[in-house]
């Protein structure tokens, strides 16, 4: 046992080492400034080779203007840079060449555009609608090189090359020392000669996150490919992208050229600088320590006087504005007069950074620091074990992340590590428990005690046509099997599922029916488990690559009956309605219980350490995400439903409200609420979703109200035992009875042990 403690201690120290820069005696204090010119909305923005920030602005009257602000000189107002733009033209991207001049990617609207007809839901299926059919709406594309004072040095018409690109959107533009232009648009880098002719198109096949020129002139692109994050250089001789030769393990983030080093980049919550020949990058700062949400960062500039400037734009927030953040290195004691709380987690998702940065920014009493457990080399169990060791050793964090520790919830409860939040919620002066969905809160409740706060959620469910599944609120395995029996033999019930995945899904849904937690007994030898085995056996062993061919057609003509779905917005509901093209029912997973639709956390969900010395502060943070302001801004930020009833109703009101814009020909067009792409390969469909009807909202409300949280009876170990034993049934070696008996035998031991 002591050896265990020693091991735990060692690992904890290691974690603390990787947990951040809390042990440094300095901190970067942030000053925020809105990056905008009076009367203009800010578009593209960039740091120049000098210490100025350049940004494009457009006024409500349609005037487009380039602005600059000298950060090095401490300017706080923007000055216009005289650039002549035609009335229909706008600056899509700003870049630099190797001499420090500015490059503008200018796009001009066409006089008339062909518009896609839109009704309630409008789908443009990629196979059928080409760029020509849809109309690109582009009248001209120009790359203009200007001096820093706005004088035009060169203008290249690239309409012939880029005008053909469907839905052209220029993200970045830059030039190399030979004068070649590099345009990052629509998942490709277009390399153009100085004359504007196409040299080559380099396809990444996915969204290109970063395009930059290193100090040696090499142009580098960064994107998240099939095999993870890729950082590749442009090889003009081979007209291809080549992996960079470096022993550093680069991950998803924002990359740009360094000042003295090759690369300056933000990965997770930290800013690093490195040369490609380095074995490890050098950490510059932890953004979260300065209360900055690193996922919103667009660009970073290391200023000569040691300050650091960053451009930030939070696309996930409705009230977001582009911000210029200037960080100054200060003594830690000089800056922090707040009580520090720790948030323990095994992973830092974007919404956690967002919530912590927002909390720290507004709280004058507390600040949260993230303590991340484990690293990429560890599996989830090992990471949770580190957290548990800290908790057992009395050094646990004040707040414990529960999104990625959901299966550990019962472990932590049995350890006595989690505080019951019921009294906090019921006695709070500001928030009232009855204002929130009880079934959602109960997802993290056990035996009447609330162990974590869930501010944002989605619903995991099964969708089918009413003509197939009826209009019931739930269905059983027998119902499902009867439905399958009533269909022709080649009918598929669910796509993208294997024998094992469906078995695990159905068992976790129904585990409470097989296991009696009160008496500590289980019964897998009854008929229901055998029916699940038989049902699962109808699915393929592996998902085949061509299983998505004709996906929507198969749904509509009845060859495929059900879809497994996650609903996190009314627009998603509308998308499913569009796919099925007839009345649908979110009937949920087959279950013996009341509902087969399951509530899943979709945002920062945390519990409180029972031994926290700052329980009041910890509750302040948990409460912060439940406040009206945060709740009303959650759907855009997290892509899920807010737990507060009133905030959800407000969101519903927005969902049914149609918004319009004036088209170039002066007609009023309805703005789409969102665009969804479903499927993959040649079979994907892209659809614009417009305002919902009251009936659709009512259906979503009903689904939310009838959904349930998993009761936590199932565990990974139980599902693993079931899967292991079921393989011999799937392979035809054992009967369902034999497998059920073995599962019964092994799981009874498990259940006995956990009592």
């Amino acid at each position: 046992m002591l050896a265990l403690q020693f091991t735990g201690c060692g690992k904890t120290d290691e974690v603390q080492e990787t947990a951040g820069t809390q042990d440094k005696d300095y901190i970067y204090a942030a000053d925020y400034q809105d990056l905008e010119a009076d009367g203009y909305t800010t578009g593209s923005m960039i740091f120049g080779e000098d210490e100025k920030v350049y940004f494009a602005g457009s006024s409500e009257e349609g005037i487009k203007q380039l602005f600059s602000m000298d950060i090095g000189a401490g300017e706080s107002t923007a000055s216009p840079v005289p650039v002549e733009l035609e009335a229909d033209a706008y600056i899509s991207a700003i870049g630099t060449d190797s001499e420090g001049n500015l490059l503008l990617g200018i796009v001009k609207y066409a006089d008339t555009a062909v518009n896609i007809a839109a009704d309630n839901v409008n789908a443009a299926e990629d196979d059928n609608v080409s760029a020509e059919d849809a109309g690109s709406g582009i009248g001209g594309v120009e790359i203009r090189k200007i001096s820093l004072d706005g004088q035009t040095l060169e203008s290249v018409d690239v309409m012939n090359v880029l005008g053909k690109v469907k839905d052209l959107y220029i993200q970045n533009v830059l030039a190399d020392k030979d004068g070649n232009y590099y345009v990052n648009a629509n998942q490709s880098v277009y390399v153009l000669k100085p004359s504007g002719e196409m040299l080559c198109e380099l396809q990444a096949g996915t969204y290109i996150q970063s395009l930059f020129r290193m100090k040696d002139g090499t142009v580098v692109v960064g994107f998240y490919g099939d095999t993870g994050w890729r950082l590749q250089s442009v090889d003009l001789s081979g007209k291809a992208l080549k992996d960079l030769n470096s022993s550093i393990s680069f991950g998803y983030g924002t990359y740009q050229a360094g000042v003295d080093a090759d690369i300056l980049y933000t990965q997770d919550t930290k800013l690093y600088t490195c040369n490609l020949s380095d074995t490890e990058p050098t950490e510059v700062l932890d953004w979260l320590e300065s209360d900055i949400n690193s996922t919103s960062l667009q660009s970073v500039k290391l200023l000569k006087d040691g300050r650091i400037a960053a451009l930030s734009m939070d696309f996930m927030s409705e009230q977001s504005k582009p911000e210029l953040i200037v960080l100054t290195k200060k003594d830690r004691s000089e800056v922090s007069g707040k009580t520090t709380l720790t948030y323990g987690t095994v992973i830092v998702p974007y919404y956690l950074s967002n919530d912590i940065a927002a909390f720290n920014k507004q709280s004058d009493k507390y600040r949260i620091e993230v303590k991340q457990y484990g690293d990429d080399s560890m599996d989830d169990d090992a990471r949770v074990a580190l957290l548990a060791a800290d908790l057992a050793g009395g050094k646990g964090p004040d707040l414990i992340d529960m999104v990625f520790n959901f299966t550990s919830l019962d472990k932590f409860i049995s350890m006595g590590a989690l505080e019951d939040l019921t009294p906090y919620l019921e006695n709070d002066a500001v928030i009232k428990r009855e204002d929130y969905f009880e079934n959602v809160l109960n997802t993290y409740a056990r035996d009447g005690k609330l162990y974590a706060i869930i501010p944002c959620f989605g619903i995991s469910t099964i969708v089918g046509k009413v003509s197939d599944v009826g209009d019931k609120k739930s269905w059983t395995m027998d119902d499902t099997i009867n439905l399958m029996d009533s269909k022709p033999e080649d009918t598929q019930i669910l796509d993208y599922n294997t024998k094992n995945s469906i078995l695990q899904l159905l068992c976790s849904m129904n585990m409470g029916e097989f296991v009696d937690a009160e008496t500590g007994t289980c019964d897998f030898t009854g008929g229901e488990f055998k029916r699940i085995l038989e049902f699962s056996n109808q699915f393929p062993k592996e998902v085949s690559n061509d299983s998505d061919s004709g996906f929507v057609d198969r749904i509509r003509n009845g060859q495929l009956i059900l879809m497994q779905g996650n609903i996190t917005s009314v627009q998603q509901f509308q998308m499913y309605e569009y796919i099925f093209k007839e009345e649908i029912n979110f009937i949920g997973y087959p279950t013996i219980g009341e509902s087969g639709s399951v509530i899943r956390s979709n945002g920062t969900t945390a519990g409180m350490n029972v031994n926290s010395k700052n329980k009041e502060g910890a509750w302040e943070f948990l409460k912060f995400n439940l406040t009206k302001d945060r709740q009303e801004n959650l759907q855009l930020a997290n892509g899920g439903f807010p737990t507060m009833k009133e905030a959800l109703e407000k969101q519903f009101a927005k969902d049914v409200e149609a918004e319009y814009y004036e088209d170039t020909d002066g007609t009023q067009k309805e703005k789409s609420k969102s665009t969804w792409t479903y499927g993959s390969g040649t079979d994907n469909i892209t659809m614009d979703v417009y305002s919902a009807t009251q009936e659709q909202v009512a259906r979503v409300r009903e689904i939310i109200e009838q959904s349930v949280g998993l009761d936590g009876t199932e565990s990974e170990e139980m599902l693993s035992i079931i899967s292991e034993e079921a393989q011999s049934y799937f392979e035809g070696q054992k009967s369902a009875d034999d497998v059920a008996a073995l599962v019964q035998n092994r799981l009874q031991t498990y259940i006995n042990e956990t009592r």
Binding site: S414, A417, L742, E753
Partner: protein
């Protein structure tokens, strides 16, 4: 005269003081030499055991509320603990005597003048050289549902048996245990047999003692300390069979293979330290009693040959 009388007394006192000083110095030196070992025992055995005792009487490692014997009561009433205790006891009761008796039999056989003695000895020692991962692999190849043993019995028309997930499971593990441990035990017995004084055996032969009498009245007496050692080692190894079972069948095997160490390992994995500590203490009490009985037995049977 007085002086003369006093001198030897003084010398005696002086020499006693000197002896005492020497003894104290010796003690101090002994303490210095012993301290690393004492420190090691304290740090790695005594203190951890005290920590385990502490954990066994608190509600959990976070609240630290004193609950006295509640954890022991819970563990004793736990179905899995009872199952594990029963399986471990059953396994030890069958496997340990077999490992001792068969090893002794083999040692006696190889002690006699049979051909290929050396080859047999090597043969029985071979399993000791095989790494555990390979042993598990061999057993999987043999006893898997689609393994060789089922192929062989299939040739005779018998149906497949799930050896490791049926009531045959413990037999398979006993065979594995014996295969792995017989060689080592046999070597120990052979060494003990060779150290029995030859003159006593010769006298017994001259006195017309029968081989059975020689074995029970002479050899077994001289082997008693080795018997005790082999039994204790086999008992310890029988607890360690968890390693093989775990590698063959995982954390939650068929219920007859669920051992005490499964219970310990799994409760550690689920962070249930108080249950783990209570179980560990209960198990250590049983072990102390068992080993105590073995020592008493050895003392009783072996006292006359050890002088």
């Amino acid at each position: 005269m007085k002086k003369e009388l006093k001198t030897p007394k003084k010398e005696k006192i002086k020499s006693a003081n000197s002896l005492r000083k020497k003894g104290e110095r010796g003690k101090r030196i002994s303490c210095v030499f012993l301290s690393p070992s004492i420190l090691g025992v304290l740090v790695f055995f005594v203190v951890p055991f005290l920590v385990v005792i502490y954990y066994s009487v608190v509600d959990n490692p976070i609240n630290h509320s004193f609950v006295f014997l509640d954890n022991f009561r819970n563990v004793f009433n736990n179905g899995a603990f009872r199952q594990a205790a029963f399986n471990t006891m059953k396994f030890s009761l069958i496997a340990v005597p077999l490992a001792v008796v068969l090893a002794l039999g083999l040692a006696l056989l190889l002690d006699s003048k049979i051909p290929f003695r050396s080859q047999f000895r090597t043969f029985f020692l071979t399993p000791m050289m095989v790494p555990i991962a390979s042993i598990v692999l061999i057993w999987q190849v043999l006893f898997h549902y689609n393994g060789m043993v089922n192929d062989v019995i299939g040739l005779f028309g018998a149906g497949k048996i799930d050896w490791l997930k049926s009531d045959y499971a413990q037999i398979v593990i006993i065979v594995l245990f014996l295969w792995k441990n017989l060689g080592y035990n046999m070597i120990l017995f052979m060494a003990a047999l060779s150290s029995i004084p030859k003159d006593i055996l010769e006298v017994a032969v001259l006195e017309s003692a029968k081989p059975r009498q020689i074995f029970f009245y002479i050899k077994l007496r001289y082997l008693s300390s080795t018997l005790l050692f082999v039994t204790i080692m086999s008992l310890i190894n029988s607890f360690k069979v968890f390693r093989e079972i775990y590698l063959l069948t995982g954390s939650y095997p068929y219920n007859t293979l669920y051992m005490m160490q499964h219970f310990m390992n799994n409760t550690f994995g689920s962070l249930d330290y108080q249950k783990l500590s209570a179980a560990a203490i209960m198990m250590s009490i049983v072990m102390v009693i068992l080993i105590g009985i073995l020592f008493l037995t050895e003392n009783y049977f072996g006292k006359d040959v050890e002088g």
